[in-house]
Symmetry: C2
Subunit: 216 residues, 2 copies
DNA sequence: GCCGATCCTGACCATTCAGTCATAGTGCCA
DNA sequence: TGGCACTATGACTGAATGGTCAGGATCGGC
């Protein structure tokens, strides 16, 4: 069951989901311009006209896929407050992010590709939701630093650091696999997660919480 | 002078470089399939046929650009030995990598795009040069760990960590700019570099060398 | 001033592209 | 049974695609 939703009950909503799944894979690999509607239709096992029946244009379909991608970007960090323990919150944030790379690599690639293309469809997203989210998270991080809970540092660079090092396992999976000589298995992701937590938390002057500590 | 080489003396070698520069930008933004020869020609201010005079096909031109990109991937870390100081070497490696993101963002994007596309043109690169480089660097890192110079950890994940967090400033520049509200200036890159060095080196159980230490 | 090599380009071609449209099948409620 | 909304699709179109080709310009060496 890789199909996106299957819900919506509607008769051909199943097809809509099937199309979006095929589109997601295609866009993630070849970008918007590099993907043809025909290619998506083939991937979904439907005639091209049927794709354009459900989505009135390629752009329309792409926006639907991008929207679906952004909706996955939630985490425990979203609800964190200044009273929380930064070590606990950041460790779980890193864990969630790597887990997202493992379970939804295609979504991560869609986002990466959109950014590389200059993010032409993310104006509103950056200016509205994302900017607000960012501002509030920066405030929490600063509060943690002010209260001496963690080392003082630039909170923007810290978030970029976490995003990049975790998403890398989705976006650059091909390189990771080729250089390691084998695909990352679940245990490998866990080991990578633990190492990221240890390095980043220690580097932030935090102690790794017991439950995130390596068993080695 | 953004033109690639200008060397080679040849009469139209200047054009060849001009074409490669235009192609680099176009491919970095839209990928191989998403870029048209016409678009590259326009960027270079030449008729399309002239582009295909110098490079017999779009694929040919792309490979030339990719090759040029890979040739930039050198650093001080390449010559490091087990006798060197890991703190010094890794700090300079991180510095060089961020500096590469700052001065050659397009090259980094080309590489990222190629990986996202499934790296169809990097088979030989991964299997030959890159794999050898990787093996030798892994050996050095292990030697450092064995001699107690740095904390024991997985050297693969460490390298992925460094690559991702440094290249992020090129590949995701759009996002970085939008969320910070301003383009990264040289001083910003330096601050980001210093923070990366502090976090990663500390996380590796290393002491940040004097000359890489923040002035704050 | 001639010649061959390099450089340059407009005209052209087969293919693929996103998207339209007219037509037809299907499910459902009255 | 009729009717209507939804679903489906083959045939088509104009534009853009990568690439070819034949002919012409420009150059250095003799």
């Amino acid at each position: 069951m890789t199909l996106s939703k299957m819900a919506d009950a509607g008769v051909g909503a199943k097809n809509k989901a099937r199309i979006m799944d095929a589109a997601e894979k295609a866009f993630a690999q070849n970008g918007f311009k590099g993907t043809s509607v025909q290619q998506i239709a083939d991937g979904a096992g439907l005639p091209k006209t049927n794709v354009l029946y459900y989505f009135k244009s390629k752009q329309d379909l792409y926006l639907a896929v991008l929207q679906q991608t952004l909706s996955l970007w939630n985490s425990r960090f979203d609800q964190a407050t200044a009273e929380d323990d930064p070590a606990e919150i950041l460790a779980s944030y890193i864990t969630e992010k790597v887990e997202m790379s493992r379970t939804h690599p295609v979504a991560s690639k869609i986002f990466a590709m959109e950014i590389l293309n200059g993010a032409p469809n993310l104006n509103r997203y950056f200016d509205d939701e994302h900017a607000k989210w960012m501002a509030s998270r920066i405030a929490i991080l600063k509060a943690w630093m002010d209260s001496g809970k963690m080392r003082r540092m630039d909170p923007y660079y810290l978030l970029f650091h976490i995003w990049s090092s975790t998403q890398h396992y989705a976006d650059f999976a091909v390189q990771v696999t080729r250089l390691r000589g084998a695909k990352m298995k679940k245990a490998d992701y866990q080991a990578a997660t633990q190492q990221l937590i240890e390095v980043i938390l220690t580097g932030c002057g935090l102690t790794v919480p017991e439950k995130y500590r390596s068993s080695i």
